[in-house]
Structure formats: structure tokens, C-alpha cells
């Protein structure tokens, strides 16, 4: 954490300028980029005299600019690395199952490659769109997700689906409805938390609406039945609400009420009961089998692992070796070192995600970024925790690593959104530059009209007229202009202060 502390501290303080916005705008009206734009004075940075410069002078911090500005790119890089590892490990662990079930040792390989490539496209596509659009549609997306879940349950009730009703779609294009519901819930919850920030601790106005939505989605998923995913969705939602400043009392009371219910639900199905018993060390042999095989794989890997493709457990000893228990194969082939590296890569994803959240330009972005990050982290660690018997057996996939197109799609959407949020600052600056340019043009026109030179705006206009290469500087100028207008101070210091943040 000594790495994150100095990084986040100043940026967190600088965040206050965005938070000021709800006060400046009438309540109930959704924040817009325009509203944000109007209320972005770097107060904190200025108010804190010793601030960034002081710390930099002490020489014990990494320049914030480095991490913050590259967080999105770094995230992208780590995710790409994880996807590559995923392809490798899925090939290795799925070859035997591919032969057995599909008479093709490369069955899982090519599919996973396709998913990784598709995922990358999705990441860039989503990353280059404005995430704030989602705010308008979050409710619709959530309703659609819930409708799909209900459709599945109805189909199951009608006897059209036997067993767990989890997949929806047509032909080969199918996805897990719960994956979509998870993302939809994260988006809508991010919106709600941002929207209700001013009265977030109010039970009736903030908590009830939120918890109702969460419970509906979680309940629908649980009745698929997909208890583990439902639990994890609930966990993500609560973590989001917790970080979104929801009253601890409300969360606590809910937890007290929900946990016994969840426990009752957990032991209602024999297979869940068996898994739990296995975890408690009292399970039957067959229930034990999967976890025993996973542990054998991990233990057999030792410190350095058996080497790529040398997994023995993948020889059909370990069921779902390419999916739920892929971490065991990672640990077997790449050893303690490899397994730890995977975990560290996920920690890197979390750090990047948190950085993106902290540096987001609005509450919605921050909540969304945090929700997605928490979701990725929780999924990864629960998968790893299950494989090393730290947690009872669940069917959760490890993001980017485990085989699966549905998870790949929605995880990629998540990463795309993070990317989009990280780019928001730039987008905003672009918009500002555009606006400033327009204003300057207008001002220039005024010069001709009024023939009354204004030195500051003239300078701005000159800069603004420069081509895109000088864009950054021109934006600085516009910021300075704002400052001057608002506080009547010299913008030079603010400019100097602000620079490292870009």
C-alpha cells in the first residue's frame, strides 16, 4: 500500500473539485459534462499549499502524473497479458477434455483465441465511446437484464429448459444472463449512488430503492439456480454501496437479515450442501474429488511448476480444469511463482481500476470504475481461493484466464468502460479546448466588433488558434482563464501546479 498511498492522496484531494458540482447544480438533475465543466476549479490543489510540489521535493514519491495518466493504458496492457496467459493455459488444460469431448485437442484453444480477440475489439470499441451515455440507459439495460433472467425462469417453469437456466441467446451466440445482469447492476448502481449522493444515508430516499434493485437481480440469479454468482453479485453490490457512502447501519442490518436467508438457500440444494461440507472437511469422497485434484495439481507444481503444457492434472483428472479450476492448472504448470504472478497481475488490475476511479471526472464514473474493478478482483480471487480450498467450491470463472465467451464479453465490456472512464479527462479537455476555441473565436470577432483589446483573452485566442500540437497548453490557458474569472488570481501558479496532473 505504500505505493498507492502517495499516488492516491493528492489525486483524491483534487477530486473535490468534481464533488463540488452537485452543490452547484439543482438536485435531481443528472450531472452532465457541462455541469462538470462549470465546476472544476482545482481548489484543493491550490488550497494545499505544500501540495504536490512539496511532496515531490521530498523525493519519496513517484510523480503522480506517471501513474494516473498511464493507469488506463497499463490496465489495458495487464489485461492483454492476462488474456494471453488465459489462451495458453486454456489450451494446455483443455486439450485432454477437447479430445475426449470433441475429438479435437485444439477445440478450446481456438475458441479462447477467438474470445480474446473479440474481447479486445470490445474493449477498444467500448473504450472509445463515452461511458456517460450509459447513465441515460442504465435503467433500460437493467430492466432488459432482469427481463432476460425472468424469461429464463419462465422457460424453466414451462419445462423448456432442464436443469439450471443460465444461458440465453440464439444458436452459437449465447451468453450467461447473469453475466449481463451483473454488469447492468453495476452500471445502474453506479448511477444511483452518484445520483443520491446528497441524501445517500437516507433510508427511504436512497437505501430502499437501491437494495430493492439489488435484491431483485440477486434473487433472479439465485433462482436460476446460480447461487455462487448471485452471492458474488450481492457482494459486489454491497461493496459498491459501502464505498458509495451508504449508511453502515443500513448495510449491517441488511447483512444480518440476508445472511441467514442465504445460508438457508445454500443448504437447500444437496450439491451446495455437499460442497459446503467438503469445505468443512466432512464431505463425501466424490464431493472431495475435484478439490482434492486441484490441491494435488497445485502441490505438484511446487515452487517453479512443471512447465508449460506439462500439467498432469489436465489429463482428465481435474474436472473443469480449463474453467472453474484453471488456477490449479496455472499453479501446477507455473508453480507458486506463476500463481503468485497471476494474483499480482490481478492486483495490478485493481490498482489501475482504483486509479481510474479516483481520477474519474464524475461520481458516476468513479462508482462505475470502482464497481467494475471490484467485480474483476472479487471474481479472480474467489476463483483462486476456491482452487486452493480457501473457499467452498463455486462455479466462478477467473476473468480473462478461464475459458468462456460469455464471461470474456462482459469482462471486456467492463475493461472497456474503465478505459473510457480513464479517457474522460482527455475527452473533457478536448471539449474544453473546443469550447475555448469557440469562445476565443467569438472573442476575436468581438475585437473586430468592439475594437477593445483584452490582453488575457487575446493571449488565449492566440494559443487557441494554434494547431492541435499545442492543444494541451491551450487548455491550460483556458483553465487559467477560468481561475482568473472566478478568483481573480494569477493563473500562472495554478498552471504550474496543474501540469503534473496531465
Amino acid at each position: 500500500m505504500n505505493f498507492t498511498t502517495p499516488t492516491y492522496q493528492p489525486s483524491a484531494q483534487s477530486q473535490s473539485r468534481f464533488d463540488a458540482s452537485p452543490f452547484g447544480t439543482p438536485q435531481g438533475i443528472p450531472e452532465t459534462s457541462a455541469a462538470n465543466m462549470n465546476s472544476t476549479p482545482p481548489v484543493a490543489a491550490n488550497a494545499d499549499g505544500t501540495g504536490v510540489f512539496g511532496r515531490l521535493a521530498q523525493g519519496d514519491v513517484i510523480p503522480e502524473k506517471t501513474f494516473e495518466s498511464v493507469a488506463g493504458k497499463l490496465l489495458l496492457l495487464v489485461v492483454m497479458v492476462l488474456m494471453c496467459i488465459g489462451v495458453l493455459v486454456v489450451y494446455s488444460s483443455g486439450a485432454g477434455w477437447g479430445v475426449r469431448n470433441f475429438k479435437d485437442s485444439e477445440y478450446f484453444l481456438w475458441r479462447q483465441v477467438l474470445y480474446a480477440l473479440g474481447g479486445t475489439v470490445v474493449i477498444f470499441a467500448v473504450g472509445s465511446t463515452d461511458y456517460k451515455l450509459l447513465r441515460k440507459f442504465s435503467k433500460v439495460i437493467l430492466i432488459v437484464s432482469a427481463a432476460l433472467l425472468m424469461l429464463l425462469l419462465m422457460m424453466k417453469a414451462a419445462g423448456l429448459i432442464h436443469g439450471a437456466a443460465r444461458w440465453i441467446g440464439y444458436g452459437r451466440f449465447r451468453f450467461q444472463a447473469s453475466d449481463m445482469a451483473k454488469v447492468a447492476l453495476i452500471i445502474h448502481l453506479a448511477h444511483l449512488i452518484a445520483e443520491k449522493q446528497n441524501h445517500i444515508k437516507d433510508l427511504n430516499r436512497a437505501y430502499y430503492p437501491m437494495i430493492t434493485i439489488v435484491m431483485v437481480i440477486v434473487g433472479l440469479v439465485a433462482f436460476e439456480p446460480n447461487f455462487s454468482t448471485a452471492s458474488v453479485i450481492a457482494l459486489i453490490a454491497f461493496v459498491m454501496m459501502f464505498v458509495g457512502r451508504v449508511s453502515l447501519k443500513h448495510i449491517g442490518v441488511t447483512a444480518l437479515a440476508v445472511l441467514p436467508m442465504a445460508a438457508a438457500f445454500a443448504i437447500a440444494a444437496p450439491y451446495r450442501m455437499a460442497r459446503l461440507l467438503t469445505f468443512a472437511g466432512k464431505g463425501s469422497e466424490s464431493g472431495d474429488y475435484q478439490i482434492t485434484q486441484a490441491l494435488l495439481g497445485l502441490g505438484n507444481g511446487g515452487v517453479f511448476g512443471l512447465g508449460p503444457g506439462a500439467s498432469k492434472q489436465r489429463e482428465l483428472f481435474l474436472p473443469a480444469s480449463y474453467n472453474d479450476f484453471i488456477f490449479a492448472v496455472v499453479g501446477e504448470e507455473y508453480g507458486f511463482i506463476g500463481a503468485t504472478v497471476i494474483l499480482l497481475l490481478f492486483l495490478a488490475v485493481i490498482l489501475c481500476g482504483i486509479s481510474v476511479a479516483k481520477n474519474s471526472q464524475d461520481d458516476f464514473g468513479r462508482n462505475l470504475a470502482f464497481g467494475i474493478t471490484a467485480s474483476l478482483g472479487i471474481y479472480a480471487f474467489i476463483n483462486a481461493g476456491v482452487a486452493c480450498h480457501l473457499l467452498p467450491t463455486t462455479g466462478l470463472a477467473m476473468p480473462f484466464i478461464s475459458f468462456g465467451g460469455s464471461a470474456a464479453l462482459f469482462n471486456s465490456i467492463g475493461v472497456g468502460l474503465l478505459l473510457s472512464i480513464s479517457r474522460e479527462k482527455k475527452r473533457e479537455e478536448k471539449r474544453k479546448a473546443k469550447a475555448a476555441k469557440k469562445q476565443a473565436e467569438r472573442a476575436a470577432l468581438k475585437i473586430f466588433e468592439v475594437a477593445e483589446p483584452i490582453i488575457a483573452t487575446d493571449a488565449n485566442a492566440d494559443k487557441a488558434r494554434q494547431p492541435t500540437a499545442a492543444k494541451t497548453e491551450s487548455m491550460e490557458e483556458s483553465d487559467t482563464a477560468w481561475l482568473e474569472k472566478l478568483y481573480g488570481k494569477s493563473g500562472s501558479r495554478a498552471k504550474g501546479n496543474e501540469q503534473p496532473f496531465l
Partner: protein, 708 residues
């Protein structure tokens, strides 16, 4: 006012910020703690407990496949196989390890004469293991392995096959190829060699296959043993014993044939017999080597002792007149009877006609101590020291334990227990000019490469009598065959000497009439004796005298040895006086061999096994599977290189797998693979019974009964 509002707002904002940061820190810390816990757990599993998991993992997917060393062969004295281990090789491949599939497929196609495309197809399968050829002969496998094809794996297995000669002598091995009886047991350490191993990888689907590049140790084949047994003589002995048993209606019998000059055992035949290739016939009654394990009271054959002692001590000469008392004589209130009442005859005649009275009288003249000395001198009462296990000493009581009638009775072969081999060795000593040779059966130990590792040379045991005595006594026993009780033992075309023996058997402490041990022991040619043989019949019912039950068997054996082609025919012919008839010569020179049981073997194996037996086969159908029936029954003797007609099974007809012992889900899975529907009875976890039985033709349904 405005200022305060603004200030309040700022403070509110800061408060929110702080709360938000704290909570985010808590959440992120939670994730980090979670990650740390996982890493800690991994540390525990992958480093601290790793050795334990590794051991368990190895146990799970690695198994050591013991590559059995090829058990050494038991040969007869002319290197004919008596017991051999046939090695079958199965060739498999790891397609992913094969560099040049074309080359491998072409090589296999060439060696096995099948289509190259078939092999190519197998080699193109996306698995790590395919069988290319199963259970082929080691010769063909040798051709393949000489081609040094990478990725081709050879796996060996072996079966012990017996020529079914001298079964009780050779003994047999158990399922693990360990000798548990006879020479197989006593020579086990020599024959077994050192097993090698292969490390096999096992997959969860139950397949196991050797991995190229894993550690392995080649098996060191066992040494072979060359026995003194002569396959021809042995076959004659067994053949004639069986005939004799039938003719005399005996319950059991033994024939031993020895080379008197060297002590080499040429044949040991015992009846009842067993099929060494069929474990079901292994009964204690049949597998006992009676020649050395059964003591009996010899009867008249024991008169050799008094004849030798009296001659050597100068107490009797051939022409001395002795009174045979007309068949009845009382010694110490016990009546001795002769089966053929004689008056006053020469000593030689008394032996020829087997007078008990003369023998008793002579023994009394010899005296207890001297008699005992000669009896012991022949080796009675002590093990002969033959290199076979299970030999008994018999019983020759010390003189102080003798009663008043022991000496006269012992002189006719009572109150003494001997083994057939002891009697034979006594007569062999006589035949060998009074020198007793150490009897032995293991001639040489041969290294796997055929070199002689150890060799046993004939050894003199002791001189039993002077050469002069031997020459004189030999004449007494020649008279037995020429004109006495042993006339039916007289072989065709050769001079023989010997003695009949008929003893009432001691049953439950009393001599029971109607229960006899009849024997004939003799040697030939008399002038230069080479071979001695004893024929011993237990409980003959069609005439119990040795002259009827045993002597004719001796006659036929001697005749056939003298005429059948082989080493001993030559040795005997060199000194034989008379020429046998041409017809007899032809009949006896035809060599016969026993047909082995080849049912259940593949064509390739059957050919191999028949080859060992000097036989061949002809197909009765063109199926590719195992032999299902043979038109000449196993155990039948046929001319060498006869063609045994064999019926083969249709290899395509599938068989029921054995489901017994499997867990229910496994059993259902296995059955499903063959398209068989399973119905279950019982509630337990393990299959205890199935119908149809394993190996039967499946009919689409299968009932399995589960344990409780």
C-alpha cells in the same frame, strides 16, 4: 453569509471525500488481504506441503510397470525345450512423438503385411497412445525394433509353456511366473532373472501408457538350465508307463531311467500325471514326484544286497547248491514262502526264480552287521543327494533296533523303506562295475546368451563292491531276465539284467494281501551297461507280480530306447549284440510329441507355441481372432510337425467386459461404451455380479448386481 455557506459547503465536501477515501481504502485493503491469504495458502500448499502432494500426485498418475525378465528355459540334454517362456510383444506409439509417420507406417506395413493406410490412420489419431500391433512374436518385434523407429513403444509379456514331459520334475510357476514346484521352484533364482521397469503415466480415464523419455530399466533375462533328461527317453518312459498303468490296472506308477556311467537321470515319469499348461490339473496327487518322495518296501529287488554281500564275502558262488525247502521254511516261528516252490537249486537259480527262503538263509549266514553294512553301502536309508527337492531318506533301521526276524525279512525286501530312485541307484552301481555315481538332473546352467555358466560333471559317490563281485552278481541278474522271473522284462534285441519285486503293502500297520507294490529294476546292455531303469507300479490289479505288472513295461522301454532315434539309441546300439526287427525299428523311430492346448491364443501365439512343440497348424476358418477350438485334443501324442487344425474366433464380435468390482457409475459408463443397457439390482456401490458374464457375447442388455 455567503462566505460561511461556501465554507460550510467546502467542509461538507471535504468530509465526504474523507469518508469516501476511507471506505475505498477499506474495500481495497479487503481485496489485498484476500489476495495475501491466497498467496499464503499457496505458500502452504505449493512449498511447505508440496512434497506430500507431489508424492500423492505421482501415485495417482504414475505407475511402475514391472517388465518381467524373461524366465530361463528348461532344456533337455540335447537342447530341446521342456519349459519355455514365450514372450509376446505389443507395439504401441505416441503419435505426437513420432517424427515421420510415413516411415513408421511403411515399416509396420512391411513387417506385418497389412495396409500402410491403416497404420497411418492410427498414427494420425489425436491421442497420446495407440496400439499398433498386439501380442506379436518377439522375432517380429525384433525386426521392428531393429528399425529404430522413434516414438514406437514395445511392451513385453510372457507365458510359461511346458512340453508336458517330466511334469513333476519340472514343476510349475504361479501367475507371477515364480516357480512354486519342482525344478521351477528350486531353480527359481537362476531362472527368473532381474525384472526391469517402465514408468507408466495413467490418465483419469484409466489409460496407462509408457512415456518416452521416462526412466526405465531393462529386464535382465534369467539363465536357462539344461537337464540330463533326454526328451526321447522321457517321452518313451511316460508313454510306456501310461500303457503299463492301464494294462496292470495300477493306481500309480513311476519310471526312472538313469545313465549308469554318469549318474545322469534320463527320465523320470510319474503317474498320475497332470497338464502343466492347465493349472486346473495341479492336484497334489498328480504333481508329486513319487520317484523321490515316496518310500515303499521294495520286496525282491532288495535281494541285490544279500547277493552282493554273499558274493563279495565269498559265502556263495553261482553254482553253490542251496536248499529252497520246497517253498516253505520256518524261521523263528515265522513261515517264509516262495511263490515258486523250489528244491535244491544253484544259488544263481535261486535268484533267477526269486527264492525268499534262500535269500533269508544267505542273509543269516552274512550276519546282521555285514548285511547292514552292504545295505547302507548301496545308499539305502540315506538321500541319494539328487538335485531335486523333496527327496526322502527312506528307512534302514540300525541293527540294534532289529528283531530276530528282521534280517531274514529284510533280505527279501521287508522292514526297510526305500525310494524308487534308491533302488535304481543300487542297481546302477552294480551295472557300473560296482561304482555308484551321484545321480543328478541339472546338467548345465546357461547364460541368456547361450554360454555355459555352470556345468555339473559326473561324480563317483562310492565304490559299493569290487569289480569282480559286480561282474559275478550281474550274471545272477542276467539270469533273472534270461530264464527267471524277469523273463517278461526281456527287451527286443538287447541283453538286459534286472530283478522283479513284489511287496505286500503295509496298510495301517499290517501287510494286507491284495495291496502290492510291484516293480522291476534292471539295466542294459548287460555286457557294457549304459542305462538302468526302474518301473514301479502301485496297487496293480491285473496280476500283482512284478513280472507281470512292471517287467513288460521295462521291456518295452528298453526296446524303444534301443531303437528310437536319439543319443541313447546310438550309445546302446554301439554295444548291442542283437539287431531288432525292421518293423519295430520303424515304428519306434517315429518321434511323437504332445499337442499343447492353444485355445484362447491368437494365431501368432498359437504358431509360436506349436513351434516349440515341433508342431504346426492349419486353419479351419479364416477368422482373425483367438483360437476357439483345436481338432486334436491337448495331451494327444502326434507325429512331429503334424498340422493341428484350429478354429479361430471372429475378432469383430465384441465381448462383455468384466464389470465386477467396479463402481456403479464406472460400470454403467463401460457398458455404455459398448452400447449396452444396464439394469441394476441392489443398492451398494460395487458391482458383485453381472449377466451376461465377462467374455460372453453381449446381447444389448446387462444386469448387474450391486454389493450391499
Amino acid at each position: 453569509m455567503e462566505f460561511f455557506r461556501k465554507h460550510k459547503q467546502e467542509r461538507e465536501t471535504e468530509k465526504r471525500e474523507r469518508e469516501l477515501n476511507t471506505r475505498m481504502l477499506v474495500a481495497v485493503s479487503g481485496l489485498f488481504v484476500f489476495a495475501a491469504l491466497i498467496i499464503g495458502r499457496l505458500l502452504f500448499i505449493q512449498i511447505i506441503e508440496a512434497p506430500e502432494y507431489q508424492a500423492r500426485a505421482r501415485k495417482q498418475y504414475e505407475s511402475r510397470l514391472i517388465v518381467k525378465a524373461k524366465r530361463g528355459t528348461l532344456y533337455d540334454r540335447s537342447m530341446n525345450r521342456l519349459a519355455s517362456s514365450l514372450t509376446y510383444v505389443s507395439l504401441a506409439a505416441d503419435p505426437s512423438m513420432i517424427e515421420n509417420k510415413e516411415e513408421v507406417a511403411a515399416a509396420f506395413a512391411e513387417v506385418f503385411g497389412k495396409s500402410k493406410a491403416g497404420y497411418l490412420q492410427k498414427l494420425s489419431e489425436r491421442t497420446r497412445f495407440v496400439w499398433l500391433e498386439r501380442r506379436i512374436s518377439s522375432e517380429k518385434a525384433g525386426i521392428v525394433s531393429a528399425k529404430k523407429l522413434s516414438g514406437v513403444i514395445a511392451m513385453k509379456e510372457q507365458n510359461r509353456h511346458y512340453e508336458n514331459l517330466a511334469a513333476q520334475v519340472l514343476g510349475f510357476t504361479d501367475a507371477d511366473n515364480t516357480g512354486i514346484s519342482g525344478l521351477e521352484q528350486s531353480l527359481n533364482d537362476t531362472l527368473k532373472g532381474r525384472d526391469g521397469f517402465l514408468v507408466m503415466q495413467r490418465t483419469a480415464s484409466g489409460k496407462a501408457f509408457p512415456r518416452v523419455g521416462y526412466p526405465h530399466q531393462e529386464a535382465a533375462d534369467g539363465k536357462s538350465a539344461m537337464l540330463t533328461i533326454d526328451i526321447t527317453v522321457q517321452a518313451i518312459a511316460e508313454d510306456e508307463l501310461r500303457r503299463g498303468i492301464v494294462a496292470s490296472g495300477s493306481s500309480a506308477g513311476t519310471v526312472i531311467i538313469i545313465d549308469v556311467r554318469t549318474g545322469e537321470i534320463l527320465a523320470i515319469a510319474n503317474y498320475p500325471d497332470f497338464d502343466a499348461n492347465n493349472k486346473l490339473t495341479y492336484t497334489p496327487e498328480a504333481t508329486r514326484n513319487r520317484a523321490i518322495t515316496d518310500g515303499f518296501e521294495p520286496g525282491s529287488t532288495f535281494k541285490l544286497v544279500q547277493a552282493t554281500a554273499a558274493t563279495e564275502l565269498g559265502l556263495r558262488k553261482a553254482d553253490d547248491k542251496v536248499n529252497a525247502e520246497n517253498g516253505k521254511f520256518k524261521i523263528k516261528n515265522r513261515v517264509i514262502t516262495d511263490h515258486e516252490p523250489l528244491g535244491t537249486v544253484t544259488y544263481k537259480q535261486s535268484i533267477a526264480h526269486s527264492s525268499n527262503i534262500v535269500a533269508a538263509k544267505t542273509a543269516i549266514i552274512i550276519g546282521e552287521e555285514k548285511f547292514y553294512k552292504y545295505a547302507a553301502g548301496f545308499g539305502f536309508g540315506a538321500k541319494t543327494g539328487i538335485d531335486l527337492q523333496g527327496e526322502v531318506r527312506g528307512q534302514l533301521k540300525a541293527t540294534k533296533e532289529w528283531s530276530g526276524i528282521t534280517l531274514p525279512w529284510m533280505s527279501q525286501g521287508y522292514e526297510v523303506m526305500v525310494t524308487p530312485l534308491q533302488v535304481l541307484c543300487a542297481y546302477a552301481a552294480l551295472a557300473n562295475n560296482g561304482v555308484q555315481m551321484q545321480p543328478f538332473i541339472i546338467k548345465k546352467i546357461l547364460s541368456p546368451d547361450g554360454k555355459v555358466f555352470a556345468e555339473k560333471k559326473p561324480a563317483e559317490l562310492r565304490r559299493v563292491m569290487k569289480p569282480k563281485t559286480a561282474a559275478d552278481v550281474k550274471e545272477y541278474f542276467r539270469a533273472v531276465v534270461d530264464s527267471g522271473t524277469g523273463i517278461s522284462a526281456r527287451p527286443e534285441g538287447i541283453d538286459a539284467a534286472g530283478k522283479t519285486g513284489t511287496a505286500q503293502k503295509l496298510v495301517g500297520g499290517t501287510y494286507k494281501s491284495g495291496s502290492y507294490a510291484s516293480s522291476f529294476v534292471g539295466f542294459f546292455p548287460v555286457d557294457k551297461p549304459r542305462v538302468a531303469a526302474i518301473v514301479m507300479m502301485d496297487n496293480p490289479t491285473n496280476g500283482y507280480y512284478g513280472s507281470i505288472a512292471a517287467a513288460p513295461v521295462f521291456s518295452r522301454i528298453a526296446s524303444r530306447i534301443a531303437t528310437a532315434s536319439g543319443e541313447y539309441q546310438e550309445k546302446i546300439q554301439a554295444v548291442a549284440v542283437r539287431k531288432p526287427s525292421r518293423e519295430k525299428d520303424f515304428l519306434d523311430s517315429v518321434q511323437t510329441v504332445t499337442v499343447p492346448n492353444v485355445c484362447g491364443l491368437a494365431a501368432e501365439e498359437a504358431r509360436e507355441l506349436l513351434k516349440v512343440h515341433r508342431l504346426d497348424f492349419k486353419r479351419e476358418n479364416e477368422m482373425k481372432g483367438a483360437v476357439i477350438s483345436q481338432s486334436i485334443k491337448a495331451g494327444t501324442r502326434v507325429e512331429v510337425w503334424s498340422k493341428v487344425p484350429l478354429m479361430f474366433e471372429d475378432a469383430n464380435a465384441s465381448k462383455m467386459p468384466s464389470l465386477v468390482g467396479l463402481k456403479a457409475d464406472r460400470a454403467i459408463y463401460e457398458a455404455k461404451q459398448l452400447g449396452i443397457k444396464v439394469s441394476m439390482q441392489g443398492t451398494g456401490g460395487i458391482v458383485v455380479s453381472q449377466r451376461p458374464k465377462a467374455g460372453d457375447k453381449p446381447n444389448g442388455d446387462c444386469q448387474i448386481v450391486m454389493s450391499n
